[in-house]
Symmetry: C2
Subunit: 276 residues, 2 copies
Amino acid sequence: MADHNDLLQRRGDADDVHCRHCSLRSLCLPQALDDRDLERFNAIVRRPGHFKKGSLLAREGAPLHSLFVVRSGSLKQVSHTGGREQLTRFFLPGELVGLDGLDTLRHPGSVRALEAATICDIPYTSLDTLAEQLPALRTQLFRSMSRTLREDRLLMGHFTHQSADQRLATLLCELSERFHRRGYSAHRFRFSKSRAEIGSYLGIAMETVSRVLGQFQQQGLITIRGREVWILDLPALESLARGDRLTVLIPTPSRLAPPARTSPDAQIATLSLANH
Amino acid sequence: MADHNDLLQRRGDADDVHCRHCSLRSLCLPQALDDRDLERFNAIVRRPGHFKKGSLLAREGAPLHSLFVVRSGSLKQVSHTGGREQLTRFFLPGELVGLDGLDTLRHPGSVRALEAATICDIPYTSLDTLAEQLPALRTQLFRSMSRTLREDRLLMGHFTHQSADQRLATLLCELSERFHRRGYSAHRFRFSKSRAEIGSYLGIAMETVSRVLGQFQQQGLITIRGREVWILDLPALESLARGDRLTVLIPTPSRLAPPARTSPDAQIATLSLANH
DNA sequence: TAGCAACCTTGATGGCGATCAATATTCGGC
DNA sequence: GCCGAATATTGATCGCCATCAAGGTTGCTA
């Protein structure tokens, strides 16, 4: 439980990382800045100590003073909307937190660390000022928002149309790709979230998450041990997410099978004869 | 069916509407501009003739040259994603089309008129240049995107968690509010969309849309005649959207009822003993 | 190492809503 | 106003998945 010494220690570490040397630079806001501008950008970034699992980075409805960028670990955003609580977003390293509160300057949801995490804190007023002077930064901000807008809409759009197994396949592919883009393995990663959190995000029951993950494992699409995940057959998962009717053979690792059964005695399982 | 004369006629009309006198000004991009800046903004806006129902304003994947603002009528955005087609957005007067393509400069979905419609066309490069010079415009652009981002996430988030009747209640409340904010009646409006389009947007089958709307009517929440809708009991719809367990009496207009039944012989119907 | 709490898995049941199918209704064109 | 096509309603069936319930596992604290 991160005592004071611990905090100071980490703060020291954090201060070492100039934007110039940050491994996430190519994904982050200053990606298009030249050296001189990068220096100015780096000057406004604050790097608070590390956050423990579960700690609150922003409270729903509280004034928004800064944008955050995840530097390590991962965060979740939770909104209480219409009576029920729901998990509206996961944030991985390099992703921007707070874009959805720039107009009201309030946090539309609480932000918590899913695991030990470090962030960069970019005060909004400084960013605003700097964006006025640096066209490249402004453009990047627009791009980030536009991209988020499109990806969100697409992803959520998927979810509203998909069955439980399709949603999970979609999430797995998404995570795989997001991790990959950040330099991590696309085929092995750790769920930093509980089954319940996954369910809340996808709009399905925790029990169903558990069952479907088990099913995927049986079908040789993934291996899952606790929160550790190995993606064994990404194409099949993508195909599943896409809603293709997918026929797999058990117990051999799954693959896209021809429309007709190859052997009369093969054990056949049909996945996602989904509703739509 | 809009012959050439008609087009010219409407084009003439359209050209008359300087941003200064536009009834949507307070909702639109230039809402924070002073007179001098408004003049400059107005100068970059193009106002093409009116579009007939069903006409294509932008093709999915095509280069994005302009943002659109709906001036009258309504539009839909359709994306072909993962094999299946889905309706990703409805646009009402005053709403901005194209924010989700600003980074790739391509349209992420096809845009079509749901009914006869007029728009303003704001060339992206001109807007970009102008935004560089007018801080108020820049701020407004950020605000619009941020707001859209938040509202989208919330709305879609709702949908992924809601049952069919809750989704429809949510949509009705949404439309009611959006119309109201634009100066139209909050209690009576026209669906410019088919049942199938509603279903595609909400992620439910056309038949279910039809059934639930009928059910709402029976329960006295709405009156619906073809595509004309009267909202009779907005609070009840909101409550339903929120997921409250709602008990209504038939055939009297519905209201929030006390937890216990008021009369043993009253006909009881229970709405949305929804899954979550 | 023991014990407890949080988390996860697995089973049984019932309701919601997709799908298929068959009309009914509305709308646009002549 | 009449006809054909698109759209909407209504009915019947069945599978997915939420919910309730009961263990099982993991991980943290003492």
